[in-house]
Symmetry: C2
Subunit: 218 residues, 2 copies
DNA sequence: CCAACTAATGACCTCAAAGTCATTTCTCTT
DNA sequence: AAGAGAAATGACTTTGAGGTCATTAGTTGG
């Protein structure tokens, strides 16, 4: 029984990832302010002091968490959209449906909620989110829209504003669920919303057909 | 020279309002966690201890702030919308424009941002916001939509989801400005967004055969 | 005009969680 | 295998803001 099991191991390379992974859970569960670094440490299987070998401060750890989640959840969406060849009218339903069912693993909306909450305290956080998430999506979408306009498939107008018209309802719907849960009588069914809004917005974006002037009920 | 100026005055009735007013500013500027009650007190012209005569805890004060802002900024919007007699096609542009220019006084979006951020720590806050803001607006809108559908002015579909289609882009646009400021190249111009999205969504909501809806009911 | 009442004060307490560091113990090099 | 080097520990310090309370002093009723 001289089999001495070590009290701990050196895991210089593995630790940062494990700590970030633990931190994601704790932050998502409690929010930034209420998250205790001792909890993060415990969940990562280390001790609070150890965290400080890898992250100088709580803020630093949070930044790392945001960048990690952003990085792991964005490539898939972006590549899928960028690889798509076809009209916006075909892409929009696909895009919104994908956003509806899943949104990664539920950690993205939770993180988004936190970033919104803490962005006043840490403005660089908002910047990370903007540059890595929002800006990319808007660039992609407005590019596609401008394209569609050039081909006469889409009415004239500001492409960025149209991009908001497309994604806004989904963003709002997800925020609704994140904030109020699914219990509210107004909670939108996300797949339904995605399908219906896709149909609605595609119609709304269609150019005026010659000889078919836009007339809605007065 | 017996003119004794008092060190302080009793203002039992005025204090709560002044404290809330000061608290709005401080909370909006720093967020809940970073807001110091001593700052609130100073700005209200009192001393920290005084706050506790009127509010038991920091959370209580925050709740009061939310309710105050909600109460003062909601009646106007709701009454205006409710008094409106006309088709949705006319109401939507007006509604979105009103939301765009001002959104009250800029404190509502800031507050909304805070509520989003702190709602995990204080779930009842989310509930206040839901019941007094979100629910009311959605009820109003989806009612109008159902109405329009009954009159054959609007395509069939889930009225709540349509309500999200209408307000989602504006909500998202305001959040964008609140989070990323107006510097981003993607920052939407809110009046433009309002006008363009109103046009887009009204078109998208129009029924297939204008003037001849399939299931028209007198 | 005085006394009971209480709004307001400000010095104080508390306490939890961020952050530190001397020490231990594993691991890598030679 | 030994000792240099650094990963990990855990007990410790710090801090700063929320919250308390005995006391002071405007206010008001009789």
């Amino acid at each position: 029984m001289t089999d001495t099991k070590p009290k701990w191991n050196r895991r210089k390379d593995a630790r940062p990832g494990e700590i970030i992974e633990a931190a994601v859970d704790v932050f998502v569960e409690h929010g930034f302010a209420a998250a205790k670094l001792s909890d993060v440490a415990t969940r990562a299987g280390v001790v609070k002091g150890t965290l400080y070998r890898y992250f100088d401060t709580k803020e630093d750890l949070f930044r790392a968490v945001v960048q990690h989640v952003v990085a792991t959840n964005l490539q898939a969406i972006e590549q899928a959209a960028q690889a798509f060849r076809g009209s916006l009218a075909e892409l929009v339903p696909v895009l919104l449906m994908r956003a509806a069912d899943g949104m990664g693993d539920g950690r993205v909306p939770a993180l988004a909620r936190m970033v919104i909450g803490e962005s006043r305290a840490f403005p660089d956080l908002a910047r990370i989110w903007h540059d890595n998430v929002v800006s990319r999506i808007l660039t992609l979408l407005s590019g596609l829209i401008a394209n569609g306009q050039a081909r006469g498939e889409i009415r004239s107008g500001d492409p960025t504003a149209y991009a908001f018209s497309i994604v806004g309802p989904m963003v709002t719907g997800m925020l609704f669920h994140e904030l109020f849960g699914s219990a509210s009588p107004h909670a939108p069914n996300l797949p339904t919303l995605a399908a219906q809004h896709a149909e609605t917005i595609v119609r709304g974006l269609a150019p005026d057909a010659p000889g078919n002037p836009p007339d809605f009920q007065p």
